[in-house]
Symmetry: C2
Subunit: 585 residues, 2 copies
Amino acid sequence: MLRTHTCGELRLSDVGKSVTLCGWVSKVRDKGGMVWVDLRDRYGISQLMAEEGKAAPEILNTLRSLGREYVVCAQGEVIERYAKNDKMPTGEVEIKLGKVEILNPAKLPPFLIEDDTDGGDDLRMQYRYLDLRRNPVRAKLELRHKVAQAVRRYLDAQGFLEVETPVLIKSTPEGARDFVVPSRMHAGEFYALPQSPQTFKQLLMVGGFDRYFQIVKCFRDEDLRADRQPEFTQIDCEMAFVEREDILSMFEGMFRSLFTEVKGIDIGEIVRMSYDDAMRLYGNDKPDTRFGMQLAHLKGYGNDLTSGANFVVFDSAEAVIGLPVTGAGDYTRKQIDALTEWVKRPQIGMKGMVWMRFEADGSLKSSVDKFYDQAALKKWATLAGLQPGDLLLVLAGDQGQTLKAASELRLELGNQLGLRNPNEYKALWVLDFPLLERDEENGRWMAMHHPFTAPRPEDLHKLGTDPGAIKANAYDMVLNGNEIGGGSIRIHDRQLQAKMFEVLGFTAAEAEEKFGFLLNAFEYGAPPHGGLAFGFDRLCALFGGSESIRDFIAFPKNNAGRDVMIDAPGPIDAIQWKELHLKNA
Amino acid sequence: MLRTHTCGELRLSDVGKSVTLCGWVSKVRDKGGMVWVDLRDRYGISQLMAEEGKAAPEILNTLRSLGREYVVCAQGEVIERYAKNDKMPTGEVEIKLGKVEILNPAKLPPFLIEDDTDGGDDLRMQYRYLDLRRNPVRAKLELRHKVAQAVRRYLDAQGFLEVETPVLIKSTPEGARDFVVPSRMHAGEFYALPQSPQTFKQLLMVGGFDRYFQIVKCFRDEDLRADRQPEFTQIDCEMAFVEREDILSMFEGMFRSLFTEVKGIDIGEIVRMSYDDAMRLYGNDKPDTRFGMQLAHLKGYGNDLTSGANFVVFDSAEAVIGLPVTGAGDYTRKQIDALTEWVKRPQIGMKGMVWMRFEADGSLKSSVDKFYDQAALKKWATLAGLQPGDLLLVLAGDQGQTLKAASELRLELGNQLGLRNPNEYKALWVLDFPLLERDEENGRWMAMHHPFTAPRPEDLHKLGTDPGAIKANAYDMVLNGNEIGGGSIRIHDRQLQAKMFEVLGFTAAEAEEKFGFLLNAFEYGAPPHGGLAFGFDRLCALFGGSESIRDFIAFPKNNAGRDVMIDAPGPIDAIQWKELHLKNA
């Protein structure tokens, strides 16, 4: 080793030791008589020093020639500092230099290698190797490492086997768009990169590997929204001979243990909520349950507290939804106007917003009190659980759009009111999703999760008659308003799987061509099975108190799917084009 | 859970318990009055039984309807067996059935799901999910899981961080052929799949992540030789602020701990041997050191024990190499003739073979004793360390070809003599490889490892004058005659790296286009670093006592790069062609 210690480990108890440290120059302070250097590595910062007249002149010369980010090997004696720094773990000592060597000089970095940097996103991406030296970025990737090891330890202890599934597979028509890989040996044919190992893990179940997991890269060639990556990582799991409850409790256990091990906190109860309840109470199938403000359906879901008052806006609306805002009874007209403008933005699309205040004296004041008397408003307040000092914001319109708008407004107010603390955690399972969604454009049914999801047994009989009413035997895990994982009990019966492909509009020939291997496998003794996958990038981000995944990935791509550091994708040469039997269209 | 226990865990101490098992029907024996079923899962086999007249008739009916590989859920009482089977861990008990349910019927499998199967390779590949049910295949993948977890535990404990590097990267001209991925968003451009994360792990070192590892998929679009896979897995590692010795001892430690943890054996000393010595002693840079039979250079390497005897074959040969075969002095003429034919095969390419016997009486008998007298032959015997009762086989020709032939013959005899026991292990490090190889066809130098390998410091000065004489600061780990890992200290100096690209025939513009990001990174403070990678598939195979990697991969591809189970690669549809801006050439 070129070093005896790291830059993070020396303490008062090491005083007197002769040590050698290696690292990057973080700062040089030259006070004339004394020169100090902060030397940084992955483990911390140590202070080096040399004194004019005492240290050899070549040491002082070398120190004075150092620039930021020079790589240095420094040998010396650990001494107690005169002026201690209690903000640094090594702050009680410094190294009196006996020798110093420049291992590699460095050009001036294009941005500051400090916790708060002056580098913008683009620059940081281009020089990712420099950004990685910054503590916050390094800490995020260290956290990712810890979470991965903890996941493996838990699942290994539970008898799961980590099995690598192939990356070069076959393009299938379901789900998102595949990345494909032209075959040189088979002209005109392509491999596809997996969107998930879904069919392979099911085949492992057919193969008797009753507890499988993998932390695995997956790929989707989608137009990238902010904070999506074309390659992403999943914790992928599957179990055989289980029912839904077994999977929920197994992965609740994993989740709980991750929180204990990695963050040292008890995540508390992981409640279960039906999809229908999530939509009704939060307007959202991934509700943020760190705060209340559940929706009050003044009209809709069997209620009607608004009709008959000649208020045309509400009378003509399918749904009237109140959002109670605790303690916001003193919002000014200006604040409410701002929120009204907020819901009228095209992204939200509401035409307006009604408000009602529950005054401290018990009276109710509303923007529509010429239509609704105190008795009527009182009913609203009761339904919404409003207390004196609270505010009710009311939206009206189509059921779907109004739910969505109410959900967005709830989250926005959660942000404004500081109710969404990233270091507070609330997880829940959302259950009983609809099995199918109607694709109105193409007039056909689409699988809401994927075509291998089993219907709830009690809904099976509706497959031929009322497919839209079938609930899936599926589950999502939601953490702080983010879907971080999901899965289902799978179909393990060949006939049912074939029927499902038929409902989804595959001809028998198409189903056979694309999924014949799975349908075949189901004929040779497929066990009942189910599983789930967690989005590992997002999980790590949330563990790190962040909503953005990018810094939890060592070498992320930008929103155009480019790696700007290595400049990929890029051209290939003429020989490659020829060998792949391809030309530009 | 659909089961209370697995099929592998019930013992005499469980007698009296009511249990539920799930699994696959391995065998049904119907003796009229009694029906027995062997039920199998990943954990073992349990025997179910029902007695005519005592069990409910529907149980007997169900049992009699079972076929091989039906999936069954069986409930009953654990009882002591009348006729115990000491070959099965569960062989002292059986389950007296109270209830049995067919969870899924099965068609008759195309081959036997038993340790010895009647299925050929092609059939087993096509129905891989059935092959996975067989104990030997399952055990190999369980071993792989164990090795992976043990590797991670060791490296995690040593402060290595597992960092995921990207899969969608850029095509580079060095090494093997890349698989590429057409970009939909950037017409005419391609990502490439990594042949290894080489440059990324070096960038992680520049980024201060001084101990990195990853168990990672890599890709090479090569014409597949037997037992090569287009996608394969590496244990990829890199360290900063180290010298060669640090890396050797770190990974010797890992290797030693893997053997202790996974196989419960002490691997013994891991000797170090220079490339030159390996070539001289074994004719091979990955010698199998489980057995001796080191080569005796009768002519060459500074020796000449054959000239001046008017034996034209040896006189005209560059090299004469003797292979001592211990205890083979009694080989018959027929045996020797067969070996002679073996070396004359085109794959080996020798013109003939000379032999010499060291008789029990001390005399030497040779096929060339009309040219060489006893005194001359005695010198051969002494050089080769021959003892009475031993045989010396002698090959002659060009140095390179003869070394290779002698090495092949040595391995063949090792096989024939049973000296290559797959359950005995001998590992060594081979050091000091040549840095460069001459590509005679194109008249240029090629990197023997890769262009980032550092020369040995003492050879650096030869770069401009005698590049062929430079030894690399590189190392391979060899186990039982297989290269299972290798690496090097890397270049961390921009000028040296640029010079290396120049020696390898890259123009400055090409180097900049392909590796500009790395050369740039080296300007911002690259630490001294080095690392290595182990071939994980091969390592697992050798741990499992096998030379073939295929069964250590859950879903391997065949020699044409096809996954015959899912039938990949395959066609893509017209929309995909269009979106990717491609057409068939």
